[in-house]
């Protein structure tokens, strides 16, 4: 996040087939389409002219250092913040124009978004009621994330891994087509990481779509089909994982080369 550093656009675009398609067509087909999106806070462009789209049935990793603009992109995409310029659409519409959005899009932005003295089941029920969903969906997702046994406990007694799964359960309430997760693997133990990886891959095999931001490059390399790399608010690379790492480089090599490798 540094306005004073324009940085030549080092965009490595390895989607030649998509790039030539008419923009209108792309936008209608894409599960997510972000077009020339910018978000400025004061003098700083947190997101600076970012364009990408996601196709159904893929798991896309959204990578970048702390403060690169990942979370800001997701916030704008989900209607929690207004874009300064450009647009971010899900299923061809702004999030707030989607009818009953949680039936289409599930999202977890922070793993800590719970009232500590509310129990897990009531957290989910409050959301299900507001969404007009059947309360039986609450029990379904509790089973899905294996939290049924802890559902009566207050969230303050949950481990970080359990909170991550409760957040995921909330995102799955509406049985969505698109899942957007911000750093979902933080705080998970190895069993939890494998569980999440299997879950996301199964989700995508059903023709659904995942956008997941992460720092954990080794984990990302095992989970995702496609990669977006962002730094200082600018998109530096987008494409299939094997194309980006085609020249015998690891994802870490590519990432550090693009982002300059300075620890932040």
């Amino acid at each position: 996040m540094n306005a004073a550093k324009p940085a030549a656009p080092r965009l490595v675009d390895v989607q030649p087939s998509r790039a030539s398609a008419p923009a209108e067509l792309l936008r209608r087909d894409a599960v997510v389409s972000v077009t020339s999106l910018s978000k400025r806070y004061g003098e700083v462009f947190a997101v600076d002219d970012v364009t990408f789209s996601l196709e159904p049935g893929t798991v896309t990793g959204y990578l970048g250092p702390n403060g690169a603009g990942k979370t800001t992109t997701l916030r704008v995409l989900l209607g929690l913040a207004e874009p300064t310029a450009g647009e971010a659409l899900v299923f061809g519409r702004r999030y707030r124009d989607v009818d009953q959005p949680i039936r289409k899009v599930g999202a977890v932005l922070e793993s800590t978004d719970f009232h500590p003295s509310r129990n897990g089941r009531d957290h989910l029920r409050a959301l299900a009621l507001a969404a007009g969903l059947s309360l039986s969906r609450v029990e379904d997702v509790l089973d899905l994330v294996e939290l049924r046994g802890a559902a009566k406990r207050r969230v303050r007694t949950y481990s970080l891994g359990m909170r991550q799964r409760l957040g995921l359960a909330a995102a799955l309430l509406g049985d969505p087509e698109l899942l957007i997760l911000d750093e979902p693997a933080n705080g998970l133990d190895p069993a939890g990481v494998r569980w999440l990886r299997t879950f996301l891959q199964t989700f995508a095999e059903q023709g659904r779509t995942v956008l997941v931001s992460s720092h954990l490059l080794a984990e990302v390399a095992q989970t995702v089909d496609r990669v977006l790399i962002i730094d200082h608010g600018r998109l530096l690379a987008s494409g299939r994982l094997e194309e980006l790492t085609g020249k015998g480089q690891t994802l870490e090599d590519v990432y550090l080369e693009l982002t300059g490798g300075e620890p932040s």
Binding site: E82, I102, S117, R118, A126, G132
Partner: protein, 243 residues
Amino acid sequence: MIGQLRSELLKQRSTETTLYLFLAMFGLVALAVTLHVLALGAGDLSTRTRQLEVFQVGSRAGMLFAGLAGAIAITAEIRYGTIRPTFLVTPRRGPVLAAKLAVSALAGIVFGLLAEGLMAADAAVAYAARGIENELSVGDYVQLLAGGAGASALWAVAGVGVGALVRNQVGALVGLCAWMFLVESTSESFVPDFGRLLPGGAGLALAGNTDELSAAVGTLLLVLYAAALAAAGWRATLRRDLA
């Protein structure tokens, strides 16, 4: 909208916050009324007007705690981050606020009834113990309960507005307490003509605790304050980015 209301009711019921507020209010009202009634000379409590004035402390406590509950309804979501999933479910945000206003007003009625009821019961016991004649009529009690409940409901609506504007939970709660116990009571003591027109003073007129201002004017003023604060909070919530 029914779903939104049920969701907000569940949020209120599923934490201990509301219970703690009720307990704190009970303690405060019981202590304050008991001290007032026991400390004042029998001559000071011999008229209906004076007895109603003693009850001001209970009415103020009902209004204040209703306002605190209203502010917490929104600031707790901001503090703990549940506002994010809440707005992901309802991205247009207006229905969330409408449900918070309705549920908080309902809770405000309960706060008002409990505060006035406890105060009246406490005073009745203390008067009986000291042999002081209770000068209040049935009509006075009806106005105390109904007016007190209405004033607390309006304070709850105003509290949601304050919470939505301030957003910081501690700031909103401290601000409301300071308003009631510093700004209002100071104004009442030093510039009574001004103090009685403030939200707390207007609420006292509504509950019949004062004959300095008519209940009708008090109601009108308090409705205007509550509507203005709720509207400002509404506007801020619909426009602001979420962190």
